[in-house]
């Protein structure tokens, strides 16, 4: 569910639902990557909770940056 080709984002509910879904997926994806990185680094270095916590925060920041890029008018895909 995403922006319809050629709808220019002016469509009613379906387009906005698609953008909302995309934003959610972007945040979750960045969190998954951050948590996976932190957890595996912790397992490798044996410092269990600390890198996990740090990378959790970094992952959230990366997710928010992904969403910011999604709405950045400069990088907006010219659909």
């Amino acid at each position: 569910m995403d922006l319809k080709p050629g709808s220019n984002g002016s469509g009613p509910n379906h387009a906005s639902l698609g953008v909302g879904f995309r934003a959610g997926v972007e945040i979750v994806a960045a969190l998954i990557v951050g948590v996976a990185l932190g957890w595996s680094l912790d397992r490798w270095l044996g410092t269990f909770p600390w890198l996990f916590i740090v990378f959790f925060v970094l992952g959230s920041a990366a997710g928010i940056m992904n969403v910011y890029r999604l709405f950045d008018p400069k990088r907006r895909p010219p659909v």
Partner: protein, 252 residues
């Protein structure tokens, strides 16, 4: 599989089983592999037979093949640039057609949706990830690593910005694969749930068959919606790939 007893098995449709008897079982050839081969076969047949005639006034098959190609070529060149985009058209065309065929084949009765498995979508997204990284490295060399630290940012912010940018970059294939997988899985679960309702409600004595028309009508609407989602998700996959390739080529 649908309504055995009073339970509902909406996820059973995603189970992998081997096909082609003992030979398929020996090599672990599942119905997902069979559908992938079928999709590749259909795409190849469409392009080969569609373009066999090379008529000036195209027939139906040729218009279909040309239409899809023009669509993807326009999308790629529009995103990446008229000149640089040209060499990526075959890559994005293959990806788009494979995902589209996977989504659409899965809507046929008895068919299996291989794009509803995260292993498949992640493999596709990982190919995209490797390609965009390789393209950026080949075109820009070590300047590519400047991507992770924007020019003009204060140096003391580097320990925060670089990991965040790195995670944001690595999350691209993850979000690409989750989006496709989640859309296809959710759609097929929804279809299965309402199909099970038809069977369950239909067994409720005299009024059952009349009441079962309701979930059946919902399923008819859902199939239409799923065809839209199938095309849209293939389009989104292709478009995001070309956006990432744009970033790799122009680097900003």
């Amino acid at each position: 599989m649908a309504a055995e007893g009073k339970t509902m098995d909406a996820l059973g449709q995603f189970e992998l089983n081997t096909v082609f008897g003992p030979l398929g079982a020996a090599v672990g050839f599942t119905q997902a592999n069979a559908h992938m081969l079928l999709a590749v076969g259909i795409i190849t047949a469409l392009v080969m037979f569609g373009m066999a005639q090379r008529a000036v006034v195209p027939g139906r098959l040729q218009s279909a093949a040309e239409g899809v190609y023009e669509f993807i070529a326009g999308l790629t060149k529009g995103q990446i640039g008229e000149h640089e985009g040209r060499r990526f058209v075959p890559f994005i065309f293959s990806l788009f057609m494979f995902v589209l065929m996977g989504n659409l084949l899965g809507l046929l009765p008895y068919a299996f949706t291989f794009t509803s498995h995260i292993a498949v979508t992640f493999a596709l997204a990982f190919i995209v990830f490797v390609v965009i990284t390789a393209v950026a490295l080949v075109l820009h060399g070590t300047k590519f690593f400047g991507y992770f630290f924007p020019k003009g940012a204060p140096l003391w912010l580097a320990p925060i910005i670089i990991p965040v940018e790195l995670i944001s970059y690595i999350s691209r294939p993850v979000s690409l694969s989750i989006r496709l997988f989640a859309n296809m899985t959710a759609g097929h679960v929804l279809l299965m749930v309402f199909a099970t309702f038809v069977v369950m409600v239909g067994g409720l004595g005299i009024i059952g068959p009349f009441a079962a028309v309701l979930p059946l009508a919902v399923n008819v609407l859902l199939i239409g919606f799923e065809i839209l989602v199938a095309c849209l998700q293939a389009y989104v996959f292709a478009m995001l790939t070309s956006i990432y390739l744009h970033d790799a080529v122009h680097l900003h």
